[in-house]
């Protein structure tokens, strides 16, 4: 009766560390190769020489434009793809474990809806890019605070109340966003709102990387320190409490860390769906349900997924398809495959 994908699931610590290392080496190699992908394709040999020349180990004999494209345009974008994909996946894994609910995604508490509204509001007022990001960031946080507040008014400690509150806040901000779309100038503001909502890494810059890194380090640090407490929460709040977990504190910390990662991701690249929902399930198939292990692999798997999808975005001969559209196009069939793998085992 037991479902066990023996080929994928190796629980021994040594096996796990090996897999973990292979995963992150793959992330690094793919990131490097991704620098060559795009309208101007750069062979990997040239990429190696460009990096060596930075260390004064090679002499430049290539078009300097290639160097600019690889290092100034693509490098931040590639790094951001990995960081954003990783951040969304980790926050998805954390929310799913906390809420004991496989349907939960990072958007559950209304971050995306809130940020979408904020960005649209800024665009209608023809704000600059950093003002758009700022407003998206703030209203994303306001949405989560709103959800928290509503759950608090319900007066229950239950997580279900919080999920419901998130749904309420999301639909509220969704409605407000629709009003803004109606009001928006159809020639300039509306297209940029629509494009933002579909997600894109094309405006990713070094500055974004430096915004992302501290937020990510703090969040991952918190989640890492409390990984076994979060793990225990998947057995239910009562059991966790009798295992010595300060349930209220851990809940708040998980929500804080996941929200921070999600809101920064959304701020940088708009709304990218599916990664935070599908990657956690993909990871469970590889390492099982244990949160500490999921935390360790989901960042890499998520980063790798978004990196490859963004490579598709850049590499396809057509006009750049929005990132969010491709994640859904790729994510949906993968999710169906995952469902068929796990069958009635646990969903």
């Amino acid at each position: 009766m037991t479902f066990r994908s023996t080929s994928l699931n190796n629980k021994s610590d040594g096996g796990f560390i090996l897999r973990w290392s292979v995963l992150y080496i793959a992330v690094i190699i793919c990131s490097f190769l991704s620098l060559g992908v795009g309208r101007i394709s750069i062979p990997s040999g040239t990429l190696v020489s460009i990096f060596l020349s930075k260390l004064n180990l090679a002499v430049s004999d290539w078009d300097p434009a290639l160097e600019t494209v690889a290092l100034n345009v693509r490098l931040p974008r590639v790094v951001l793809a990995v960081l954003v994909g990783g951040a969304l996946s980790v926050s998805g894994v954390s929310y799913q474990t906390l809420f004991k609910n496989p349907m939960v995604s990072p958007a559950i508490l209304g971050v995306s809806a809130g940020a979408g509204f904020g960005a649209a509001l800024a665009m209608i007022n023809s704000a600059s890019w950093w003002q758009i990001q700022m407003l998206a960031f703030i209203s994303g946080l306001i949405a989560v605070l709103g959800a928290y507040l509503i759950a608090w008014i319900f007066g229950r400690q239950e997580l279900t109340a919080l999920v419901l509150a998130g749904v309420i806040v999301s639909s509220l901000f969704g409605a407000l966003l629709s009003i803004l779309k109606l009001l928006a100038d159809t020639d300039s503001a509306l297209p940029s709102i629509v494009f933002w909502l579909m997600g894109s890494l094309s405006r990713g810059s070094n500055r974004d990387v430096f915004i992302m890194l501290p937020a990510l380090s703090v969040s991952l640090g918190i989640l890492f320190l409390f990984r076994y407490q979060i793990n225990a929460l998947s057995a239910g709040e009562d059991v966790a409490a009798t295992l010595g977990v300060n349930v209220r504190l851990i809940k708040s910390l998980v929500i804080l860390a996941a929200t921070l990662m999600t809101v920064v991701s959304v701020t940088i690249c708009g709304i990218v769906g599916w990664v935070g929902l599908v990657v956690p399930h993909l990871c469970r198939l590889i390492v099982g349900a244990s949160y500490p292990r999921l935390l360790a692999v989901s960042f890499g798997v998520g980063g790798l997924c978004l990196l490859l999808i963004d490579d598709l975005v850049r590499g396809l001969p057509t006009a750049e398809l929005p990132l969010g559209v491709l994640t859904s196009l790729v994510g949906a069939p993968i999710f169906v495959f995952l469902l068929s793998r796990v069958r009635k085992g646990w969903l």
């Binding site: 479902f3 076994y228 239910g236 099982g288 085992g345």
Partner: protein
Amino acid sequence: MLAVENLSFGYTALRKILKGITFNIRQGEVLALLGPNGTGKTTLMRCLLGLLKPDGGRTDLFGRDILKLSAKERSRMIAYAPQSSSMTFPYDVLEVVMMGRLPHLGFGSSPSRKDRFEAEKALEIMRIGHLASNLFQSLSGGEKQLVVIARALAQKARLMVLDEPMANLDFYNQARSLKILRSLARQGHTVLWTTHSPDQALLVADRLVMIKDGQVYADGRPEDVITGESLSELYGLNAVVTETSVISAGKPVKICVPIID
């Protein structure tokens, strides 16, 4: 070691579930809580575990007020096996039992080889070592219950609180779990266990507390407390307790039979 004094609790101010409960457990005792459905046994347990904050009265564990202990301190003193348990995600059995080692983990650190050893030992005590790598969710109700008890064992707390641990177990596993309760007590553990079976309480409990309508109805040695009259009164039926010539757990077995007409 555990002293409960005048404990009262109600989810609403008007309807009290616990109305001034007083009893205590001595170290090494196996205490069974017996009472009809809905009389507050589980609520009482949740108060003892610090999951619910009582409206009045106090509970002392080793002379310390249980509400003043941190969750972590409490988890090292009391282990809890709930009545039913489910895991949404595909945890395997060993991972579930390893959760019982959480009270002993240092801040931010991973379980050590010793923690793994303790978890495996707990599985062996419950004789379910062969299930270690099975998915928890694929187990039968009874097997899940054994795993949950193993998790409580792995916690290595001196007081074990078990909520109807035999409810889903077959005849063999009930007998085995009763034996484990006894041997835990011999090793210095103290066991508090709720049950719907006066027969089992007679077999292994040192003490029996009967709860009726949120109050202690009777408290004493099972063979003194469990009588035809007390059971008839407690459950509102006609019951008879008879001593047989069968010897089990070192004493003549008494059986409780409801009279059905």
